[in-house]
């Protein structure tokens, strides 16, 4: 998560209008889910991959590593769909185990793979958004979509506090380790608990101080912040429209043929 945060600030697509990126990611995501087709999924994987790596300048190795996280997870859950344990063997494969079979059907395998690719391509859409858009920009998009202010303000403060608390916890852990706080399992367990306790108390203190400081700057219950100033470009909007239109057309074509 911290890596993604670093990446999105370095991304070359950072200054592209956030709403454009959001709409592109969401439309494409919906198309992936609606179509559930191999073609669309592969196309989307390809497009978002190219956009993130080529367009955003995110290192390929980073991208692949990030994609491997859902791949592992999805493989495990797809296995659960593909593999059945029954008394009668199915058509694709069957391993006898006592009076049962560890077995799977061809249809099940195709379905499982389809599901996996759909999910993976959906994740790639979200990766495209989060690897190229800072959280503050996403909040702005949500604001324009009329998400309640209280939720947005909470998100803003939560996001800032994640880093403050991470700093606190790493500083405390370092200080503990410097005094052999991790010498064996039992000690590290106690140290961890104490660290968590201190982080809680310290962050409460910090939030009080932050509130005072906000009041000092005339905070009156509404957090007003400047929206980022990245106007949407016509060429980008056309590209998004064409891309999603093509994907939609493919989806419809596949649906009709089925």
């Amino acid at each position: 998560m911290i890596i993604i945060d670093k990446l999105c600030y370095q991304s070359k697509l950072r200054c592209v209008n956030a709403m454009e990126k959001f709409i592109f990611a969401m439309l494409t995501l919906i198309l992936c889910i609606v179509s559930r087709s191999f073609t669309v999924s592969v196309l989307v994987l390809f497009i978002t991959g190219i956009l993130t790596v080529r367009g955003g300048g995110i290192p390929v190795s980073r991208y692949i590593k990030a994609m491997l996280v859902p791949v592992v997870f999805l493989t495990l859950s797809t296995l659960a769909i593909i593999v059945n344990i029954t008394r009668t063997p199915l058509d694709a494969f069957a391993l006898p185990a006592g009076s049962y079979y560890i077995t799977g059907s061809c249809k099940g395998i195709t379905e499982g793979l389809r599901l996996m690719l759909t999910a993976l391509s959906s994740v790639s859409c979200l990766y495209f958004l989060s690897m190229n858009t800072p959280v503050t920009d996403i909040l702005e998009v949500l604001k324009r979509l009329h998400v309640p202010r209280i939720i947005l303000e909470l998100m803003l403060l939560t996001y800032r506090f994640i880093f403050l608390m991470l700093n606190l916890s790493s500083a405390i852990t370092t200080a503990q380790n410097a005094r052999l706080g991790n010498k064996d399992l039992k000690t590290s367990r106690t140290s961890f608990a104490r660290m968590a306790g201190s982080v809680l108390i310290l962050s409460l203190k910090q939030s009080n101080a932050l509130y005072d400081a906000m009041e000092a700057r005339c905070y009156d219950g509404v957090i007003r912040i400047l929206p980022a100033h990245h106007p949407a470009r016509r060429s980008e909007m056309i590209a998004i429209a064409v891309c999603d239109f093509l994907l939609a057309a493919i989806t419809i074509f596949i649906k009709i043929r089925r």
């Binding site: 800032r160 101080a209 005339c218």
Partner: protein, 278 residues
């Protein structure tokens, strides 16, 4: 004719659940056009006093007045007060709440009712003046301590207060950033903003301030010009401060008759060297 900017009359403040008061019948008067340094050990009441100055804390007893008028603690009164008095907190992480530099700087400006265009302009202007435009679009959690401090100061400066209070502005900064912050403070003072700060740096306070207030156990132990304060050894000992090196050296040199008696106190090392090489 300098007039009274801020006046505290017998104010007391005790934090919830504390037995000893943080401010104990403290009275002081700050004149306009003076550069004020508040000194005193940790916990002597400086920060609490600052918080009282812009109405974050309300004294339990006594009155604070700004430009002759007692502080008005109504919503509108407080907004008005905080527009005029800005505080830069000691810990930038306690002040910066946005992940985006520009957004954080413009927060106060927008609260004052400026439009987004105006706020953007003001923020850009302040960032330009402070030379922090290069990291305007970095996330605040990726900044160094010194850069965070500059952002914190920018956030207050953008609101264009009449009086700016800095709570230990150079605390835990490296020499380069200390220098940058000190230069900034001079800029503010030159631009006509009243500046009040707290510091433990005697050399700096001696060279920079027009008036020194010595805080001790929630009261003002002494006040006066740097020359008056820093020549009183017993007073400095009470608050655990050492006299500035220039002054100690100058006094020794006069005692040893290396320098003739009756020279005016030197403000800086350069002035002292001037005496010696003349």
């Amino acid at each position: 004719m300098p007039h009274t900017l801020l006046k505290a009359d017998d104010i007391c403040y005790t934090y919830d659940g504390d037995h000893t008061p943080a401010l104990d019948h403290l009275s002081l008067e700050i004149k306009s056009g003076r550069k004020i340094a508040c000194m005193g050990s940790n916990g002597s009441g400086k920060s609490t006093f600052f918080l009282c100055c812009n109405g974050i804390r309300r004294p339990d007893h006594g009155t604070l007045s700004y430009k002759g008028k007692p502080l008005d603690y109504s919503r509108k009164g407080l907004l008005d007060l905080r527009r005029k008095i800005g505080i830069v907190f000691q810990e930038p992480d306690h002040q910066i709440f946005c992940a985006d530099v520009q957004q954080d700087i413009s927060f106060g400006v927008l609260n004052l009712g400026y439009t987004e265009t105006e706020a953007r302009k003001k923020a850009a202007q302040v960032m330009e003046n402070l030379g922090i435009t290069p990291f305007a679009h970095k996330p605040t959690h990726a900044l160094s301590g010194g850069q965070k401090k500059q952002v914190a100061i920018a956030g207050i400066l953008a609101m264009e207060p009449e009086l700016i209070i800095l709570d230990e502005p150079a605390a835990s900064l490296d020499p380069l950033h200390t220098e940058i912050v000190h230069r900034l403070i001079d800029q503010m003072a030159d631009a006509g903003t009243a500046v009040m700060l707290s510091t433990h740096d005697v050399e700096y306070a001696y060279a920079w301030a027009d008036d020194i207030f010595l805080f001790h156990n929630g009261r003002i132990l002494a006040q006066g010009t740097p020359e008056e304060i820093f020549t009183q050894k017993p007073l400095l000992q009470t608050v655990n401060l050492n006299p500035p090196a220039v002054l100690s050296l100058f006094q020794r040199l006069t005692e040893e008759q290396v320098l003739p008696a009756g020279l005016p106190l030197p403000k800086t090392m350069d002035e002292l060297i001037g005496y010696l090489t003349r």
